[in-house]
């Protein structure tokens, strides 16, 4: 099937060589996916320029600005314009960026709608956690299950996500195949090198019991062996009841919770309150690229989070 598709694309490419040279316009729904797309197909990785490579990607654009909560995002007219001219769209899926479906319908760009060559759902192939209930959004006839969508926070998942993006890029610009493959290999090598360091640092606080504001960290917790015992706001948007907070604090005290995790765009008051009652620090973690200083790219994002935890729980805190 794929072979046939690639063959068709090759035929199309042969018919219109001008298209190939232009490079693809990639649009990602979140800054994290955009950072991963850039890492394998655009800007040099870690100050390592690559002269003379064929251009695979012209631009990588993001729909949700860095630091904005993607689930509470309101699209703008400019976003439809981005989609109209996009060659590849990369999304989180799992109902996280549910607003994209309506935008795509409005943009009317067949290439990047579901089933098109330029449509990349980053969640494809990921080992999903917490597949509870049914998805509200019906994704192409079969229920995906409302799995936890924060899978990009496990750095190991970047391998799968970049794989999906690379496949779509190669399908679109077969001439740049070599460049894309070697770029991805270099990125994955850099990731693996950093991963070893992260795991080493995380070993110092493995098994640490934590309370988080929302359930956004299961993938991160699984990779770095954190024990998230409960959440301040289990249902996003419904403020915690006093009984829930009392249970939370009692459980936190009984189990020896060591910190309260907090994201920059969550209300700080309640997290601060719980941390104060438990007498533990509040650790601010970045949920996505660009949401905090020093999280400009994907590796920086993971690094900042591991560093923040290590600073509070590991190295100096013992």
């Amino acid at each position: 099937m794929r072979v046939v598709r690639i063959a068709l694309v090759l035929a199309a490419v042969a018919a219109a060589p001008a298209c190939v040279m232009a490079g693809a316009r990639v649009v990602a729904t979140t800054a994290d996916l955009a950072a991963l797309a850039r890492a394998i197909a655009g800007e040099p990785i870690e100050g390592e320029p690559a002269p003379g490579e064929p251009v695979a990607v012209d631009t990588v654009e993001t729909i949700v600005p860095a630091g904005v909560d993607a689930e509470a995002f309101e699209p703008r007219p400019g976003d439809i314009e981005k989609l109209r001219h996009a060659d590849i769209i990369v999304r989180i899926g799992l109902g996280y960026d549910y607003w994209l479906d309506r935008l795509l319908a409005q943009a009317g760009n067949r290439r990047v709608t579901r089933g098109g060559d330029g449509y990349v759902d980053g969640s494809a192939g990921i080992a999903l956690l917490e597949v509870r209930g049914e998805s509200v959004v019906n994704e192409g006839g079969h229920s995906h299950g409302a799995a936890n969508p924060h899978y990009w926070l496990d750095p190991q998942n970047a391998v799968i996500i970049t794989g999906g993006i690379a496949e779509a890029l190669i399908g679109l610009t077969p001439a740049a195949r070599e460049a894309i493959v070697s770029r991805r290999a270099r990125f994955l090598a850099a990731l693996a090198a950093r991963m070893a360091g992260w795991r080493e640092r995380a070993a110092a606080f493995a098994g640490a019991k934590l309370i988080a504001y929302h359930d956004s960290w299961p993938y991160f917790a699984r990779r770095f062996r954190l024990d998230l015992i409960d959440f301040i706001e289990p249902k996003p948007g419904v403020a915690a009841s006093p009984a829930h907070l009392a249970r939370l604090v009692a459980a936190g005290r009984a189990q020896g919770v060591r910190a309260v995790l907090h994201e920059p765009y969550e209300p700080a008051q309640t997290a601060r309150f719980v941390a104060a009652r438990l007498g533990v620090p509040m650790v601010v973690l970045a949920p996505s690229v660009g949401s905090m200083p020093g999280t400009g790219d994907y590796l920086g994002l993971i690094d900042a989070n591991v560093t923040a935890l290590a600073k509070t729980l590991g190295e100096g805190a013992r």
Binding site: A127, E130, R132, S241, A250
Partner: protein, 445 residues
Amino acid sequence: MSAADAADAAAFLALPFAAAVLFVLIHAWFGVHVLRRNLIFADLALAQLSALGATVAFALGYPPTGGAGFAYALLFTALGAALLTASRGLVRHISQEAFVGILYVTATAATVLAVDRSPQGAEHVKAILIGSILTVGPEEVGKLALLYAAIGLCHYLARRPLTALSADSAGAHSLAVMAWDFFFFLSFGVVVTSSVATAGVLLVFSFLIVPAVIGSLYARTLAFVLPIAWATGIVAGAFGLAGSFVLDVSTGAAMVIAFAAMLAAAGLAKALIFVPPQRRRRHWRAAGTVLAAAPCGIVLASSLWLMAYPQADQPGLAAFERLSGLVPARFLSASDRDTFESAERDAVRFSGEVVRLDARERALRVDAPLPDEEVRRIASYQQTFNEMARGERFVLGVLRAKARARERWIVGAPAALGALIGLALIARPWRRRQGGENAQSSRLA
């Protein structure tokens, strides 16, 4: 319960209660004025303007809790106070409330645009809508107490001109009137800005309006309205807090509902107890009639609905089924009933399996995380179980529709008939009395 846990419970309720008392004391006073001026939503407009100020400060790079953030919020609130003062001149042409509404939506839209420039300002705006009275800190309560004491003192000293101002809605605008008006709105804006940041827009509106309405129900002069408003407001706040703890629900929302319930109770008490004796008897009779007629009316409506559309949602019948234990399965054939019951069991079992698999993966996450392949398998089991549970629910829906089609006449017709008879019985003595009274009044005439 350990000493620490007991201290938690006390801390969870003592500080929010103290804050609620402070809020009721100052807001009921403003509420009385706002009611008399017919400017019910002025607080929303002023709060939104102060939120706009804070957001603009954030967009310019100041932290929202710092001095600059406060200064911007105050500046925008003062602007709002000036606009509200100026709108007094409009009263002759249009309702001032229309102007307040326009001010509110404009400020809200401007806030959305300002948030666009400062992504994390969104948190600030969300916090203002919801608030978090539950987690108010001791130093915050202290600050509020000082601020409200100062504003309360100023208003106490200026109570005569302020009360005269609210009584006169004709729209006189001499310079002195304008100055007092501006002072009123500015202090109102400061109070609302501080309280909305802690309690949220919904709860602040309740603090402001509900006690003042209850007070105005029972008395006319400020000397009586205010104490009644304070007392009922504090009681409602205490009930809301306790209810939120006992029922395990969000504090702000529970308190808003408690205030509404307090108003309903006060209204009922006013109609049934605090009335002259002869009217009291009539009101009790009317209440009895309504109390008897309402269930009959509901039964009649749901049975007509069942007979008209048995396959549609049947909230009345579903409630009856839950209360009586007369489940739809009773109306099915033996084999259908078996299918129904096993589908019910399986739907619960499959959902339980999903949760169990989740718990298993989670339990192993720390010590020996499952390999990706195993996690994928769990996820696909979970998806399968979800689909199967959905299938069982579909079966339940089909069989329930089948049962309802049988219940349509067996249950619907007798219920409708019974309800009609009930209504007729209730209407008869009432009509006779009504007729008697009419005859009496015509004789007197």
